[in-house]
Amino acid sequence: MAISQAMCTSFKQELLTGTHNFTTSTGDAFKLALYTSSATLGASTAAYTTTNEVTGTGYTAGGGSLTNVTPTTSGTTALTDFADLTFSTATITARGALIYNDDQSDKSVIVLDFGSDKTSTAGDFTIVFPTADASNAIIRIA
């Protein structure tokens, strides 16, 4: 049982077949699901699963909806981003997360490992994405 941070292998292939569209508003709907430390997630994760997904106040199975940022370029690097996501008034503990495409049969994109359990009690649980530039954006093709 472990969560290994990775860009999912199936996602890399699906990029080449044009499965995912990260365009704001008109693109696909992406979601972020939270998982406990008992979950097994990694590069081989191909789709969203409810196994060992977080449960608790302020969290609904399937996770939260992400706001896409239309892909752009910086120099020779293409990149995309998501707006920060907050689970409000939440009492939950999570060790990692899975970003997946809700419009494309829940196909997985990225597995995130928080490094340790993160807990909120009747508070806010916020995932802060890195600066959207060529060196730091969450998804970059250089």
Partner: protein
């Protein structure tokens, strides 16, 4: 041609720059939001010339103050809206609680 996905296959959260912020028994304060906002707007390289670095940090501090002040005003405005909505719905005591926050 090689497509290089700049994503650590076995890295930690730190490698990605992802952060998880949590609170207990409260929400984030305007100051906490303002700091996070400024982090998105201004990033200062540790390798920048000291004078430029100092100027960037000063600008960042200004951004934090401006955003915090605006957020505080937004919170007040929203409470006014909620106060009136509760009053109109026949809950003056609840409305007063919101007003006193």
């Amino acid at each position: 041609m090689k497509l290089d996905f700049e994503f650590p296959t076995n890295g930690t959260i730190k490698d990605l720059g992802i952060q998880v912020h949590t609170t207990n028994n409260r929400g984030f304060t305007p100051e906490e939001h303002a700091i996070r906002c400024a982090e998105k707007i201004v990033s200062v390289s540790s390798e920048a010339h000291p004078a430029i670095r100092a100027q960037a940090h000063a600008f960042k501090s200004q951004v934090i103050r401006a955003v915090e002040q605006t957020l505080c005003e937004a919170v007040k405005s929203d409470r006014t809206t909620i106060y009136n909505a509760l009053n109109e719905a026949g809950h003056p005591e609840l409305a007063d609680l919101i007003r006193r926050l």
